[in-house]
C-alpha cells in the first residue's frame, strides 16, 4: 500500500475539515452582514465531498484499497455508502439552514463551520477501523453538535437541549471509553479487523472482558442512534435544538451512529454475531415499539419526529441482524431513504417556522396544503416514505431491511416491525391530516425561499424515484 492509498479513506473527512478550517478563517475576516458567502462555501465543500465520495465509489469498485494508517481507517463499500449518505445529509442541511437562521436571528457564519466539522467527524466514523478512531470520531461529531444544539442561545429550550445533550453525551462517551478499555484488556487490540480475527481464539476470561466491553460500547452507540432504553435524550434535544440542527441530527447523526454500529459490530464483532444478536434484537424490538407508540401522542412536530427517529433506529437495528448479503445494503439504503425523507420533512418545518416565531405544534400545520400545495405534496411524500408506503424510497428500504432480518432468522421481529409500522402510520398521517384536511384559525403560510425549495424538491424527487432507481441499479449488491 502506497502512502497515497493510505489517505484515500480520509479524503472526505479531509475535504470537510479543510473546508471548515477555511470557513473559520473566512468568518474571522468576513465583513459583518449576511452569510450568503458562507452558505455557498459550505455547500461547495459538501458538494466537493460528495464528488470525492462519488468519484471514489466509481473508481474503486469492489472492496477498495483496504486499511490505511496502521489499520486505523479503511475504505470499503460500506464506508463509501455511509459517506455518501452523510454528505447528502450535510448538503441538504446546509440548504435548509439559512432561511431558519436568518428568520430566527441566528445568522452567524460559525454555524456552517460546525456543521461541516460535525460532518467531518461523521465521515471519519464511516471509515473507522479502530475503536480509538471510533471514539475520536464520536467526539468529533458530538462536540460541534453540542455547540449547534445550543446555537439558538439564549433561547431557553436551545440551552436546555444543549446541556442535556452534552451531559448525557459525555456520560455515554464514558461508557464507550470504558468499554473500549475492557475490550483492549480482553483482546489486546482496539483494531477492529484484528479484533475480529482474535475473537474465536480468546480464552474464557478474554471473552468475558470483550463481551463486557462490547456491552458498554453498545450502550454508547445505542445512545447515539437513540435506541431504547438509551433514547430519552432524543425528544428533548430535538425539540430544543434549532430546527435545522434537529434535522441534521436526526438524519446524519443517526447515520453516523449506524456507521459506528456497523463497523464495530458487523466488522469487529462479526464473528461473535450469535452473542450480540440477542441483545440487539431486544433493543430493536423495544425501540420499534417505544418509538412508534410514544410518537402517537406527540402534539409537537419536532418531538414527534424525534420519536420517529427513535423508531427508525429500531428498524435499522433490525437491519444489523440481517443475513450477511442483505443486511448491509438494506441498512445503507434505509439510511439514504430515511435521510431524504427526514431532511425533506424538516425542510418543510423550517419553511413553516417563518419569521413570526416558530410554532412546531401540529396545529400550526393546519390547512397548509391548501395555501402551499407543493409543500403539502412534498410533506405527504416524506411522511409516506417514513411510513414505508410504496412507491416511495421508504418502502423499498423497509422491504430490503425486513427481508434481510427475516433471512437472518428474525421473522418474529420483522412481524413486530410490520405491526409497529402500522402504528407509525397514525402519527405520520397526523401531519398529512393537519396539512391537507385541517383548518386553522390563524393560517400560517410557509416562507418562500429558493434554498429551502431546492432542498424540498431534491428530497421529494429522491424520495419518489430514488427507491426505484436504486433497486433498479442493483443497489443490493453494495
Amino acid at each position: 500500500m502506497t502512502l497515497l492509498q493510505a489517505w484515500i479513506p480520509l479524503l472526505p473527512t479531509l475535504v470537510l475539515t479543510a473546508g471548515a478550517l477555511a470557513l473559520i478563517l473566512a468568518e474571522a475576516f468576513r465583513r459583518p452582514g449576511p452569510t450568503r458567502g458562507m452558505v455557498w462555501g459550505a455547500l461547495g465543500i459538501a458538494l466537493v465531498g460528495l464528488g470525492v465520495v462519488g468519484g471514489l465509489l466509481a473508481l474503486l469498485p469492489g472492496e477498495g484499497p483496504g486499511e490505511g494508517f496502521s489499520g486505523m481507517v479503511r475504505w470499503d463499500r460500506p464506508a463509501g455508502g455511509l459517506s455518501l449518505v452523510l454528505l447528502i445529509g450535510t448538503a441538504l442541511a446546509v440548504l435548509l439552514s439559512r432561511r431558519y437562521l436568518v428568520d430566527q436571528g441566528l445568522d452567524r457564519g460559525e454555524y456552517y463551520v460546525f456543521l461541516l466539522l460535525a460532518a467531518a467527524g461523521m465521515t471519519l466514523m464511516a471509515v473507522a477501523q479502530d475503536l480509538l478512531v471510533v471514539f475520536l470520531a464520536l467526539e468529533g461529531l458530538s462536540i460541534p453538535l453540542y455547540v449547534l444544539a445550543g446555537f439558538a442561545r439564549p433561547r431557553a429550550a436551545s440551552e436546555e437541549a444543549a446541556l442535556k445533550y452534552f451531559l448525557l453525551g459525555a456520560f455515554a462517551s464514558a461508557f464507550l471509553v470504558f468499554g473500549i478499555a475492557l475490550i483492549f484488556a480482553g483482546s489486546g487490540t482496539t483494531q477492529l479487523s484484528a479484533l475480529a480475527g482474535r475473537l474465536r481464539a480468546l480464552e474464557a476470561g478474554g471473552r468475558l472482558l470483550v463481551g463486557m466491553g462490547s456491552a458498554l460500547v453498545l450502550v454508547a452507540l445505542g445512545f447515539k442512534v437513540a435506541a431504547v432504553p438509551f433514547h430519552l435524550w432524543t425528544p428533548d434535544v430535538y425539540e430544543g435544538a434549532p430546527t435545522p440542527v434537529t434535522a441534521f441530527m436526526a438524519a446524519a447523526t443517526k447515520t453516523a451512529g449506524m456507521a459506528a454500529l456497523i463497523r464495530v459490530f458487523l466488522i469487529g464483532l462479526g464473528p461473535a454475531a450469535e452473542v450480540w444478536h440477542g441483545p440487539v434484537a431486544a433493543m430493536a424490538a423495544a425501540t420499534m415499539v417505544v418509538g412508534n407508540v410514544v410518537a402517537l401522542l406527540q402534539p409537537n412536530f419536532k418531538r414527534m419526529m424525534a420519536y420517529s427517529s427513535i423508531a427508525h433506529a429500531g428498524y435499522l437495528l433490525l437491519g444489523l441482524l440481517g443475513a450477511p448479503g442483505l443486511a448491509l445494503p438494506g441498512v445503507l439504503f434505509y439510511l439514504l431513504a430515511y435521510t431524504f425523507a427526514t431532511m425533506g420533512a424538516f425542510a418543510v418545518a423550517v419553511g413553516m417556522a417563518g419569521s413570526e416565531g416558530e410554532d412546531p405544534s401540529l396545529e400550526a400545520y393546519a390547512g397548509v396544503a391548501r395555501r402551499a400545495p407543493g409543500m403539502g405534496t412534498a410533506m405527504l411524500l416524506f411522511m409516506l416514505s417514513l411510513i414505508g408506503v410504496p412507491p416511495t424510497a421508504g418502502f423499498f428500504a423497509k422491504l430490503l431491511l425486513f427481508a434481510a432480518a427475516w433471512q437472518g432468522g428474525w421473522a418474529g421481529l420483522v412481524i413486530l416491525g410490520g405491526i409497529t409500522t402500522v402504528l407509525s402510520a397514525y402519527f405520520y398521517l397526523r401531519v398529512v391530516v393537519a396539512m391537507w384536511m385541517g383548518r386553522a384559525e390563524r393560517e400560517r403560510t410557509p416562507v418562500r425561499d429558493p434554498w429551502l425549495r431546492l432542498s424540498v424538491v431534491l428530497s421529494g424527487l429522491a424520495t419518489l424515484v430514488l427507491g426505484i432507481l436504486w433497486v433498479m441499479m442493483g443497489g443490493l449488491s453494495v
Partner: protein, 169 residues
C-alpha cells in the same frame, strides 16, 4: 508484597476520593476530591510503568482541567444548588442499577481471571515518553491529528458559546 500494599493503599485512597467526589455537598470540595483521585490514579500509572501518561494526567487533568472546573465553580458561585432534592427514588434505583452493572463486571473479572504474563517483566520501552512520542507520530498519527482538530473545534466552540449574544460578527 510491596506491590500489594501499594495497590491496596492506593486503591483505598482512590475509592475514598471517588466517593468523596460523589458524596460531598460542596462542589468545590467535590472538585478537590476529584483532583485527589486523579492524582491517585496518576500514582497508579507510575506503578504500572506509564510515567508519560502519569505526567499528562497530572499536568493536563489534575492541573489544567480541574483548575478550570474550580474556576467555573467559583465564578458561578455554584458550590451548592438550591431547591429540594426531587426524585427520591432516583438514588436507590441508581444504586441498584449501578450495583448490578458493576457487580456484573466484577463478577466477570473474578470468575475468569486473566491468564496473563505476570507483571514485572514489561518490555523496556513501554512507558518511555520517547516511545510514546514515536508512536504518536507513526502508528497513531491519525488519532493524534484528529485530537488536534478536536481541540480546535473545542476552542472555536467555546468562543461561540461564550460570546455574548447579539454582539454580532
Amino acid at each position: 508484597m510491596g506491590e500489594w500494599i501499594a495497590f491496596l493503599v492506593l486503591a483505598a485512597v482512590a475509592i475514598a476520593t471517588a466517593l468523596g467526589t460523589v458524596a460531598v455537598r460542596n462542589a468545590v470540595h467535590s472538585a478537590l476530591f476529584l483532583v485527589l483521585n486523579l492524582l491517585t490514579v496518576a500514582a497508579f500509572y507510575l506503578l504500572l510503568n506509564a510515567p508519560f501518561v502519569a505526567m499528562v494526567q497530572i499536568a493536563v487533568y489534575a492541573g489544567a482541567v480541574m483548575v478550570l472546573f474550580l474556576f467555573v465553580i467559583m465564578m458561578l458561585g455554584a458550590e451548592r444548588v438550591s431547591g429540594a432534592p426531587g426524585m427520591r427514588w432516583q438514588i436507590p434505583l441508581a444504586l441498584a442499577w449501578g450495583g448490578i452493572l458493576i457487580g456484573g463486571i466484577l463478577f466477570a473479572f473474578l470468575q475468569a481471571p486473566m491468564e496473563l504474563p505476570p507483571a514485572g517483566s514489561p518490555p523496556a520501552p513501554l512507558g518511555d515518553p520517547a516511545a510514546i512520542g514515536g508512536r504518536l507520530l507513526t502508528t497513531h498519527a491519525l488519532p493524534f491529528e484528529v485530537t488536534s482538530v478536536l481541540l480546535l473545534i473545542a476552542m472555536v466552540g467555546v468562543v461561540v458559546l461564550a460570546r455574548h449574544h447579539g454582539s454580532g460578527g
